[in-house]
Symmetry: C2
Subunit: 151 residues, 2 copies
Amino acid sequence: MSETSPAHGHAHALPAGPALLRARGRRLTRQRELIWAALTAEPDAHLSVDQIAARVQEELPSVNASTVYRSLDVLVREGLVLRSELGSDRTFYEPAHDHRHHHVVCRGCGAVAHVHDDLFEDLQTRVDKVCGYALADEEVTLFGFCPACRE
Amino acid sequence: MSETSPAHGHAHALPAGPALLRARGRRLTRQRELIWAALTAEPDAHLSVDQIAARVQEELPSVNASTVYRSLDVLVREGLVLRSELGSDRTFYEPAHDHRHHHVVCRGCGAVAHVHDDLFEDLQTRVDKVCGYALADEEVTLFGFCPACRE
DNA sequence: ATTTATGCAAACGTTTTGCATGTGT
DNA sequence: ACACATGCAAAACGTTTGCATAAAT
Protein backbone atom coordinates (compact mmCIF):
# COMPACT_ATOMS: atom_id res chain seq x y z
CA MET A 1 0.00 0.00 0.00
CA SER A 2 2.99 2.32 0.35
CA GLU A 3 5.94 1.00 -1.65
CA THR A 4 4.90 2.64 -4.84
CA SER A 5 3.95 6.00 -3.35
CA PRO A 6 6.53 8.77 -3.73
CA ALA A 7 7.94 10.74 -0.80
CA HIS A 8 7.94 8.18 1.94
CA GLY A 9 10.68 8.99 4.41
CA HIS A 10 13.76 6.75 4.60
CA ALA A 11 15.60 7.32 1.39
CA HIS A 12 17.47 4.04 1.14
CA ALA A 13 15.19 1.46 2.67
CA LEU A 14 15.56 -2.14 1.63
CA PRO A 15 14.21 -2.59 -1.86
CA ALA A 16 10.60 -3.65 -1.79
CA GLY A 17 8.07 -4.50 -4.43
CA PRO A 18 9.27 -4.36 -7.99
CA ALA A 19 12.55 -2.73 -6.98
CA LEU A 20 13.55 -6.20 -5.85
CA LEU A 21 13.83 -7.08 -9.49
CA ARG A 22 16.99 -5.03 -9.81
CA ALA A 23 18.66 -6.95 -7.02
CA ARG A 24 17.90 -10.09 -8.97
CA GLY A 25 19.56 -8.88 -12.13
CA ARG A 26 16.30 -8.06 -13.82
CA ARG A 27 15.25 -4.65 -15.03
CA LEU A 28 12.76 -2.32 -13.54
CA THR A 29 10.77 -0.99 -16.43
CA ARG A 30 7.86 1.38 -16.47
CA GLN A 31 5.65 -1.48 -17.62
CA ARG A 32 6.59 -3.60 -14.65
CA GLU A 33 6.08 -0.72 -12.28
CA LEU A 34 2.62 -0.17 -13.69
CA ILE A 35 1.77 -3.85 -13.40
CA TRP A 36 2.85 -3.80 -9.80
CA ALA A 37 0.85 -0.63 -9.22
CA ALA A 38 -2.24 -2.29 -10.66
CA LEU A 39 -1.78 -5.29 -8.39
CA THR A 40 -1.33 -3.19 -5.27
CA ALA A 41 -3.84 -0.45 -6.01
CA GLU A 42 -6.35 -2.01 -3.67
CA PRO A 43 -5.67 -4.43 -0.85
CA ASP A 44 -6.56 -8.09 -1.31
CA ALA A 45 -7.00 -7.72 -5.02
CA HIS A 46 -6.77 -10.71 -7.30
CA LEU A 47 -6.74 -9.65 -10.90
CA SER A 48 -6.90 -11.40 -14.23
CA VAL A 49 -4.43 -10.67 -16.97
CA ASP A 50 -7.10 -8.68 -18.75
CA GLN A 51 -7.81 -6.54 -15.76
CA ILE A 52 -4.13 -5.89 -15.21
CA ALA A 53 -3.57 -5.05 -18.86
CA ALA A 54 -6.53 -2.67 -18.87
CA ARG A 55 -5.28 -0.81 -15.84
CA VAL A 56 -1.76 -0.59 -17.16
CA GLN A 57 -2.96 0.64 -20.53
CA GLU A 58 -4.97 3.41 -18.92
CA GLU A 59 -1.64 4.86 -17.92
CA LEU A 60 0.49 3.73 -20.86
CA PRO A 61 -1.66 2.60 -23.78
CA SER A 62 1.18 1.23 -25.84
CA VAL A 63 1.74 -1.69 -23.46
CA ASN A 64 1.18 -4.95 -25.24
CA ALA A 65 -0.61 -7.94 -23.77
CA SER A 66 2.39 -10.14 -24.37
CA THR A 67 4.44 -7.85 -22.18
CA VAL A 68 1.91 -8.26 -19.40
CA TYR A 69 2.12 -12.03 -19.71
CA ARG A 70 5.89 -12.02 -19.79
CA SER A 71 6.25 -9.58 -16.93
CA LEU A 72 3.84 -11.48 -14.75
CA ASP A 73 5.85 -14.61 -15.41
CA VAL A 74 8.96 -12.84 -14.21
CA LEU A 75 7.25 -11.42 -11.14
CA VAL A 76 5.92 -14.84 -10.25
CA ARG A 77 9.27 -16.47 -10.85
CA GLU A 78 10.98 -13.92 -8.61
CA GLY A 79 8.47 -14.50 -5.88
CA LEU A 80 6.92 -11.05 -5.93
CA VAL A 81 3.59 -12.12 -7.31
CA LEU A 82 1.40 -15.10 -6.63
CA ARG A 83 -0.48 -16.81 -9.43
CA SER A 84 -3.68 -18.55 -8.42
CA GLU A 85 -5.64 -20.96 -10.53
CA LEU A 86 -9.19 -20.45 -9.41
CA GLY A 87 -10.85 -22.99 -11.62
CA SER A 88 -10.26 -23.42 -15.31
CA ASP A 89 -9.88 -20.22 -17.25
CA ARG A 90 -9.63 -18.28 -14.05
CA THR A 91 -6.04 -17.37 -13.45
CA PHE A 92 -5.57 -14.53 -11.04
CA TYR A 93 -2.56 -12.64 -9.78
CA GLU A 94 -1.94 -10.90 -6.51
CA PRO A 95 1.09 -9.52 -4.70
CA ALA A 96 2.81 -12.31 -2.80
CA HIS A 97 2.07 -12.32 0.89
CA ASP A 98 4.39 -13.46 3.62
CA HIS A 99 1.91 -16.00 4.93
CA ARG A 100 0.39 -18.78 2.91
CA HIS A 101 -3.29 -18.58 2.39
CA HIS A 102 -5.97 -20.21 0.32
CA HIS A 103 -8.95 -19.01 -1.62
CA VAL A 104 -12.68 -19.46 -1.44
CA VAL A 105 -14.39 -18.37 -4.61
CA CYS A 106 -18.04 -17.42 -4.52
CA ARG A 107 -20.04 -19.24 -7.18
CA GLY A 108 -22.62 -16.53 -7.02
CA CYS A 109 -20.73 -13.30 -7.56
CA GLY A 110 -17.15 -14.40 -8.12
CA ALA A 111 -15.88 -12.77 -4.96
CA VAL A 112 -12.75 -14.28 -3.51
CA ALA A 113 -11.97 -14.59 0.18
CA HIS A 114 -8.76 -15.62 1.80
CA VAL A 115 -8.53 -18.50 4.22
CA HIS A 116 -5.60 -18.95 6.52
CA ASP A 117 -3.45 -22.01 6.16
CA ASP A 118 -4.24 -23.11 9.73
CA LEU A 119 -7.49 -24.62 8.60
CA PHE A 120 -5.65 -27.15 6.51
CA GLU A 121 -3.09 -28.38 8.97
CA ASP A 122 -4.65 -31.63 9.97
CA LEU A 123 -6.02 -32.10 6.49
CA GLN A 124 -2.43 -32.71 5.48
CA THR A 125 -1.93 -35.47 8.01
CA ARG A 126 -5.27 -37.02 7.14
CA VAL A 127 -4.62 -36.99 3.42
CA ASP A 128 -1.30 -38.61 4.10
CA LYS A 129 -3.00 -41.38 6.08
CA VAL A 130 -5.68 -41.97 3.50
CA CYS A 131 -3.68 -42.08 0.30
CA GLY A 132 -0.05 -41.49 1.14
CA TYR A 133 0.19 -38.18 -0.64
CA ALA A 134 2.17 -35.34 0.88
CA LEU A 135 0.28 -32.12 0.28
CA ALA A 136 2.42 -29.56 -1.48
CA ASP A 137 2.95 -26.09 -0.11
CA GLU A 138 0.44 -24.84 -2.55
CA GLU A 139 -2.73 -22.96 -2.55
CA VAL A 140 -6.05 -24.66 -2.35
CA THR A 141 -9.08 -23.24 -4.05
CA LEU A 142 -12.47 -23.87 -2.56
CA PHE A 143 -15.82 -22.94 -4.00
CA GLY A 144 -18.87 -21.82 -2.13
CA PHE A 145 -21.18 -18.91 -1.57
CA CYS A 146 -20.26 -15.68 0.11
CA PRO A 147 -22.38 -14.27 2.92
CA ALA A 148 -24.37 -12.13 0.50
CA CYS A 149 -25.00 -14.91 -2.02
CA ARG A 150 -26.03 -17.55 0.54
CA GLU A 151 -29.51 -15.97 0.61
CA MET B 1 -17.18 -52.16 -13.51
CA SER B 2 -19.73 -54.42 -15.11
CA GLU B 3 -22.31 -52.36 -16.99
CA THR B 4 -20.47 -52.47 -20.25
CA SER B 5 -19.62 -56.14 -20.20
CA PRO B 6 -21.79 -58.34 -22.38
CA ALA B 7 -23.61 -61.42 -21.11
CA HIS B 8 -24.42 -60.38 -17.62
CA GLY B 9 -27.47 -62.25 -16.51
CA HIS B 10 -30.75 -60.36 -16.09
CA ALA B 11 -31.83 -59.45 -19.57
CA HIS B 12 -33.86 -56.34 -18.76
CA ALA B 13 -32.08 -54.80 -15.81
CA LEU B 14 -32.46 -51.10 -15.17
CA PRO B 15 -30.57 -49.13 -17.78
CA ALA B 16 -27.11 -48.25 -16.57
CA GLY B 17 -24.23 -46.33 -18.02
CA PRO B 18 -24.81 -44.74 -21.38
CA ALA B 19 -28.09 -46.60 -21.86
CA LEU B 20 -29.52 -44.09 -19.42
CA LEU B 21 -29.27 -41.58 -22.21
CA ARG B 22 -32.18 -43.17 -24.01
CA ALA B 23 -34.40 -42.82 -20.99
CA ARG B 24 -33.59 -39.14 -21.04
CA GLY B 25 -34.63 -38.66 -24.63
CA ARG B 26 -31.09 -38.62 -25.91
CA ARG B 27 -29.64 -41.04 -28.39
CA LEU B 28 -27.22 -43.83 -27.76
CA THR B 29 -24.72 -43.64 -30.55
CA ARG B 30 -21.68 -45.72 -31.21
CA GLN B 31 -19.53 -42.67 -30.47
CA ARG B 32 -21.08 -42.25 -27.06
CA GLU B 33 -20.73 -45.91 -26.29
CA LEU B 34 -17.07 -45.73 -27.16
CA ILE B 35 -16.55 -42.67 -25.03
CA TRP B 36 -18.17 -44.43 -22.12
CA ALA B 37 -16.06 -47.50 -22.77
CA ALA B 38 -12.91 -45.38 -22.69
CA LEU B 39 -13.94 -43.84 -19.39
CA THR B 40 -14.72 -47.16 -17.77
CA ALA B 41 -11.93 -49.24 -19.29
CA GLU B 42 -9.93 -49.00 -16.11
CA PRO B 43 -11.22 -48.24 -12.63
CA ASP B 44 -10.54 -44.82 -11.14
CA ALA B 45 -9.52 -43.37 -14.46
CA HIS B 46 -9.61 -39.66 -15.03
CA LEU B 47 -9.00 -38.84 -18.64
CA SER B 48 -8.47 -35.71 -20.65
CA VAL B 49 -10.43 -35.03 -23.80
CA ASP B 50 -7.37 -35.90 -25.82
CA GLN B 51 -6.96 -39.23 -24.13
CA ILE B 52 -10.61 -40.06 -24.60
CA ALA B 53 -10.53 -39.03 -28.24
CA ALA B 54 -7.43 -41.11 -28.86
CA ARG B 55 -8.98 -44.23 -27.35
CA VAL B 56 -12.22 -43.74 -29.20
CA GLN B 57 -10.43 -43.23 -32.48
CA GLU B 58 -8.48 -46.42 -32.06
CA GLU B 59 -11.81 -48.14 -32.45
CA LEU B 60 -13.54 -45.75 -34.83
CA PRO B 61 -11.06 -43.39 -36.43
CA SER B 62 -13.63 -41.16 -38.05
CA VAL B 63 -14.76 -39.76 -34.72
CA ASN B 64 -14.20 -36.05 -34.61
CA ALA B 65 -12.90 -34.15 -31.60
CA SER B 66 -15.93 -31.90 -31.60
CA THR B 67 -18.10 -34.95 -31.17
CA VAL B 68 -16.10 -35.93 -28.14
CA TYR B 69 -16.53 -32.47 -26.65
CA ARG B 70 -20.24 -32.43 -27.37
CA SER B 71 -20.84 -35.93 -26.12
CA LEU B 72 -18.96 -35.31 -22.92
CA ASP B 73 -21.07 -32.24 -22.35
CA VAL B 74 -24.18 -34.33 -22.70
CA LEU B 75 -22.88 -37.06 -20.43
CA VAL B 76 -21.96 -34.50 -17.80
CA ARG B 77 -25.29 -32.75 -18.12
CA GLU B 78 -27.13 -36.05 -17.70
CA GLY B 79 -25.12 -36.86 -14.63
CA LEU B 80 -23.32 -39.88 -16.04
CA VAL B 81 -19.90 -38.32 -16.13
CA LEU B 82 -18.07 -36.03 -13.76
CA ARG B 83 -15.93 -33.20 -15.04
CA SER B 84 -13.06 -32.18 -12.79
CA GLU B 85 -10.95 -29.10 -13.14
CA LEU B 86 -7.57 -30.14 -11.84
CA GLY B 87 -5.76 -26.86 -12.23
CA SER B 88 -5.89 -24.66 -15.27
CA ASP B 89 -5.81 -26.49 -18.58
CA ARG B 90 -6.33 -29.77 -16.81
CA THR B 91 -9.88 -30.84 -17.29
CA PHE B 92 -10.49 -34.49 -16.65
CA TYR B 93 -13.50 -36.73 -16.98
CA GLU B 94 -14.50 -39.79 -15.06
CA PRO B 95 -17.66 -41.86 -14.67
CA ALA B 96 -19.85 -40.29 -12.00
CA HIS B 97 -19.66 -42.02 -8.66
CA ASP B 98 -22.43 -42.25 -6.12
CA HIS B 99 -20.34 -40.73 -3.37
CA ARG B 100 -18.71 -37.35 -3.51
CA HIS B 101 -14.98 -37.35 -3.48
CA HIS B 102 -12.11 -35.00 -4.06
CA HIS B 103 -8.81 -35.18 -5.87
CA VAL B 104 -5.17 -34.99 -4.97
CA VAL B 105 -2.97 -34.43 -7.98
CA CYS B 106 0.67 -35.41 -7.84
CA ARG B 107 2.93 -32.58 -8.94
CA GLY B 108 5.59 -35.10 -9.77
CA CYS B 109 3.95 -37.59 -12.07
CA GLY B 110 0.44 -36.26 -12.53
CA ALA B 111 -1.18 -39.20 -10.80
CA VAL B 112 -4.55 -38.49 -9.26
CA ALA B 113 -5.87 -40.00 -6.05
CA HIS B 114 -9.32 -39.81 -4.62
CA VAL B 115 -10.04 -38.46 -1.17
CA HIS B 116 -13.29 -39.10 0.58
CA ASP B 117 -15.50 -36.17 1.46
CA ASP B 118 -15.29 -36.99 5.18
CA LEU B 119 -11.97 -35.25 5.43
CA PHE B 120 -13.59 -31.95 4.61
CA GLU B 121 -16.50 -31.99 6.95
CA ASP B 122 -15.23 -29.74 9.67
CA LEU B 123 -13.42 -27.67 7.09
CA GLN B 124 -16.83 -26.48 6.03
CA THR B 125 -17.78 -25.29 9.46
CA ARG B 126 -14.41 -23.66 9.98
CA VAL B 127 -14.50 -21.82 6.67
CA ASP B 128 -17.93 -20.59 7.58
CA LYS B 129 -16.64 -19.24 10.89
CA VAL B 130 -13.64 -17.57 9.36
CA CYS B 131 -15.14 -15.82 6.37
CA GLY B 132 -18.84 -16.58 6.29
CA TYR B 133 -18.69 -18.58 3.09
CA ALA B 134 -20.79 -21.71 2.71
CA LEU B 135 -18.73 -24.30 0.89
CA ALA B 136 -20.49 -25.60 -2.18
CA ASP B 137 -21.08 -29.27 -2.83
CA GLU B 138 -18.21 -29.27 -5.19
CA GLU B 139 -15.02 -31.04 -5.66
CA VAL B 140 -11.83 -29.79 -4.17
CA THR B 141 -8.52 -30.29 -5.88
CA LEU B 142 -5.41 -30.60 -3.80
CA PHE B 143 -1.84 -30.81 -5.00
CA GLY B 144 0.95 -32.80 -3.52
CA PHE B 145 3.29 -35.66 -4.13
CA CYS B 146 2.29 -39.26 -4.40
CA PRO B 147 4.06 -41.95 -2.38
CA ALA B 148 6.47 -42.67 -5.23
CA CYS B 149 7.32 -39.03 -5.92
CA ARG B 150 7.84 -38.00 -2.29
CA GLU B 151 11.34 -39.52 -2.44
C1' DA C 1 -40.60 -39.30 -40.55
C1' DT C 2 -38.75 -36.78 -37.38
C1' DT C 3 -35.41 -35.21 -34.61
C1' DT C 4 -30.96 -35.46 -32.79
C1' DA C 5 -26.03 -36.31 -33.50
C1' DT C 6 -22.11 -36.20 -36.45
C1' DG C 7 -18.12 -34.64 -39.38
C1' DC C 8 -15.99 -31.03 -41.26
C1' DA C 9 -14.10 -26.55 -41.43
C1' DA C 10 -13.97 -22.30 -39.75
C1' DA C 11 -14.09 -19.13 -35.78
C1' DC C 12 -12.90 -18.23 -31.17
C1' DG C 13 -10.33 -16.45 -26.98
C1' DT C 14 -6.33 -16.92 -24.57
C1' DT C 15 -1.59 -17.54 -24.25
C1' DT C 16 2.99 -18.13 -26.48
C1' DT C 17 6.64 -17.18 -29.67
C1' DG C 18 10.16 -15.09 -33.17
C1' DC C 19 12.22 -11.25 -34.31
C1' DA C 20 13.64 -6.48 -34.94
C1' DT C 21 13.68 -2.37 -32.12
C1' DG C 22 14.04 0.10 -27.89
C1' DT C 23 15.61 0.75 -22.99
C1' DG C 24 17.73 -0.08 -18.39
C1' DT C 25 21.88 -0.85 -16.36
C1' DA D 1 27.91 -1.21 -24.88
C1' DC D 2 25.59 -4.81 -23.54
C1' DA D 3 21.93 -7.65 -22.23
C1' DC D 4 17.49 -7.64 -21.37
C1' DA D 5 12.69 -6.18 -22.27
C1' DT D 6 9.27 -4.57 -25.48
C1' DG D 7 5.89 -4.19 -29.41
C1' DC D 8 4.14 -6.30 -33.10
C1' DA D 9 2.39 -9.96 -35.80
C1' DA D 10 1.90 -14.57 -36.31
C1' DA D 11 1.36 -19.04 -34.42
C1' DA D 12 -0.21 -22.29 -31.16
C1' DC D 13 -3.51 -24.23 -28.23
C1' DG D 14 -7.91 -26.09 -26.61
C1' DT D 15 -12.51 -25.40 -27.33
C1' DT D 16 -16.84 -23.91 -29.69
C1' DT D 17 -19.91 -23.15 -33.54
C1' DG D 18 -22.62 -23.28 -38.17
C1' DC D 19 -24.11 -26.07 -41.36
C1' DA D 20 -25.14 -29.92 -44.44
C1' DT D 21 -25.29 -34.89 -43.96
C1' DA D 22 -26.08 -39.17 -41.43
C1' DA D 23 -28.09 -41.98 -38.04
C1' DA D 24 -31.23 -43.13 -34.08
C1' DT D 25 -35.74 -43.27 -32.51
